[in-house]
């Protein structure tokens, strides 16, 4: 099957996403990605030169001149950088697949 995305690209993207696709999953994913990408290509009908990308709704509500928008005009608010209590370690570690109680345990990182 031809299209925008080759099988090699499906494999490369899966690797980037840390997904180990089974062999029989790959053709289906390739087919679906191509169908979706063909559909989204209609965005190229629009000239978007000079339009600022919108990453957050607060982009829309903030007014650079300081005027009040639909929100308070400040966008997202940041909390004070101060120490505060966090979740209980024992409760959190209870959910870990493998732990020594203080740390998460994983398989070996560096092979010798």
């Amino acid at each position: 099957m031809s299209g925008l995305v080759s099988m090699e690209e499906v494999e490369r993207v899966a690797e980037l996403a840390n997904l180990d696709l089974a062999e029989d999953e790959k053709p289906r994913m390739q087919r679906d990605l191509n169908a979706i990408l063909e559909y989204v290509a209609q965005l190229n009908q629009l000239d978007t030169a000079g339009i600022e990308p919108m990453a957050q709704v607060s982009d829309l509500l903030s007014h650079p001149d300081g005027a009040i928008g639909a929100d308070t005009g400040h966008g997202a608010l940041l909390r004070a950088d101060a120490l505060k209590a966090s979740l209980d370690r024992a409760e959190v570690m209870e959910e870990a697949p493998d732990t020594d109680g203080a740390f998460f345990r994983t398989p070996k990182v560096i092979e010798r």
């Binding site: 989204v40 209609q42 600022e52 639909a70 308070t72 697949p97 398989p107």
Partner: protein, 487 residues
């Protein structure tokens, strides 16, 4: 009292919060009795509908008993005292597993409560359990749940919509008085429409997302489902407001939305965008929505045709933005801190890859791949950046429209509920079920969907009422006018 629960029929309208509150306050009903009746009804119908993934009966009965003690003493009751409510499984809640409908989180017990859950508990609500949904809220039919699909109580061969299909079906079958769902591209509004209940998309920032298992952070919202507009408004008031744990939550004051919903609609200007009534809209759905528009005209609204000409680009923009954000958000599921870890891993890298391969379902993988592709070197400008630019055009188009009209009315979905299995083989056809809902998601504006009629097959049709940022009061008011005409 009108609160007898009938276990013979699947479809049943819940009693109103006001009626239940009156019963509990006056002593003709206890919260414990009410909770027990709901658990009995769940036991009866859940095996077929597959709405609840887990129940929190012990905790619920403790809360109900505390409400009854307070009521017996004549203490003032909290706003939702004794009201049985169900929670979509993407919101974390202590005392039950939170799976997000995914095998990768099977058996995960969160160590904290989502803010919306904590606020409901503080308001006296009796939380019945956790409700089925599409895996990580990705889907439009609830068929992507790792724990099996939910069936639509109106017609059990049909889907309830998605991703909050369980939350909508729960209210339609009276397995809860109200529920919480989440909406990223239509996941509250579309299932509410399919199941014939009221669903609310609050403005982006209105309700804290702390404790929501994230899908697409610039789009995700938490909102209520209820059997009527007023109850949905009451629940939104409880869960809304600024939260120090969510930097995107808004400090705007929270209004009495139920009182707003009672206001007269006379003189309101309602925009009808032609792009939402074109090809692909089922004629019976169109007729029902047009009936709703006539109701508004008769109630004194001024109906104005408008144009939102970028509407057709909303699905492409949505599926690029949402999947890009999802590919980043779902990177956290790696088998280290919580959830599934593959037993076949031999080193760290294979542990990540195999845990994710085994834990995620096909639609989640598809979206992670699409999002990763759109963000990858060489494609970022062509896909992700382009989508964000068109997102601004779509959003600004709404802002311009709202300088001329107070609210915009559209169909919620292009069709009524479709059959189980009908679209599972064609992801693009499934994505198009969100064609009328993704626009408001991208713009960050609010909306309410309200039943406005049925098709000849008896399937419910929803009307979507959209209002500007933080204009929920207006959306509730218009929705209430449509609802009251059918009473």
């Amino acid at each position: 009292m009108g609160i007898e629960l009938n276990t013979e029929t699947l479809l049943e309208k819940p009693a109103t919060i006001a009626a239940l509150r009156e019963g509990i306050t006056s002593g003709t009903l206890t919260a414990t009795e009410l909770a027990e009746r709901y658990y009995a009804r769940i036991a009866e119908h859940n095996p077929l509908l597959n709405v609840y993934l887990s129940l929190t009966k012990e905790k619920a009965l403790e809360q109900a008993s505390a409400v009854d003690t307070a009521a017996a003493k004549g203490d003032p009751l909290a706003p939702l005292a004794g009201i049985p409510i169900g929670i979509k499984d993407v919101l974390v809640m202590q005392g039950a597993p939170s799976t997000a409908g995914s095998a990768i989180l099977k058996g995960y017990h969160p160590p904290y409560d989502a803010t919306a859950v904590r606020k409901l508990t503080a308001a006296g609500a009796v939380l019945l359990g956790k409700i089925n949904c599409d895996e990580f809220a990705m889907g439009s039919s609830n068929e992507n749940s790792a724990y099996g699909p939910v069936r639509n109580p109106v017609d059990t061969d049909r889907v309830p919509g998605g991703s909050s299909g369980g939350s909508a079906a729960a209210v339609a079958a009276n397995l809860a008085v109200a529920t919480l769902g989440t909406d990223t591209g239509g996941s509250i509004r579309q299932p509410a429409s399919f199941c014939g209940v009221v669903g609310v998309l609050p403005t982006y920032g209105r309700v804290s997302r702390y404790g929501l298992i994230a899908f697409a952070s610039s789009l995700d919202r938490v909102g209520p489902f209820a059997g009527n507009v007023r109850d949905a408004a009451e629940i939104l008031r409880v869960i809304a407001g600024e939260d120090a744990s969510d930097a995107t939550s808004s400090p705007r004051p929270v209004e009495d939305f139920a009182a707003e919903s009672d206001k007269d609609v006379r003189g309101l200007k309602i925009g009808i965008p032609e792009e939402y009534f074109g090809d692909g809209l089922d004629p019976e759905v169109r007729a029902a929505v047009e009936g709703g528009i006539e109701t508004l005209r008769a109630a004194g609204c001024e109906i104005r045709p408008i144009s939102l000409k970028h509407t057709k680009y909303a699905i492409p923009v949505y599926y690029l933005v949402a999947t890009a954000e999802a590919s980043a958000n779902l990177a956290r599921f790696d088998g280290v801190r919580y959830g599934h870890r593959s037993a076949s891993a031999t080193n760290l890298s294979s542990m990540y890859r195999l845990s994710r391969e085994e834990g995620f379902g096909p639609e989640v993988k598809r979206r992670i791949l699409l999002g990763t592709y759109a963000l990858s070197a060489g494609y970022y400008d062509a896909y992700y950046k382009k989508a964000q630019q068109v997102r601004r055009l779509l959003a600004e188009e709404f802002l311009t429209a709202f300088t001329r009209v107070d609210a915009i009315v559209t169909p919620t979905a292009p069709t009524a509920a479709f059959k189980l299995g009908e679209k599972t083989d064609d992801p693009l056809a499934m994505y198009l079920a969100d064609i009328y809902t993704v626009t408001a998601s991208l713009a960050g504006i609010c909306g309410v969907t309200v039943p406005c009629g049925v098709t000849s097959a008896g399937l419910p049709v929803g009307m979507q009422v959209l209002a500007p940022h933080f204009g929920e009061g207006t959306a509730f008011r218009v929705a209430r006018a449509v609802e009251s005409a059918s009473e």
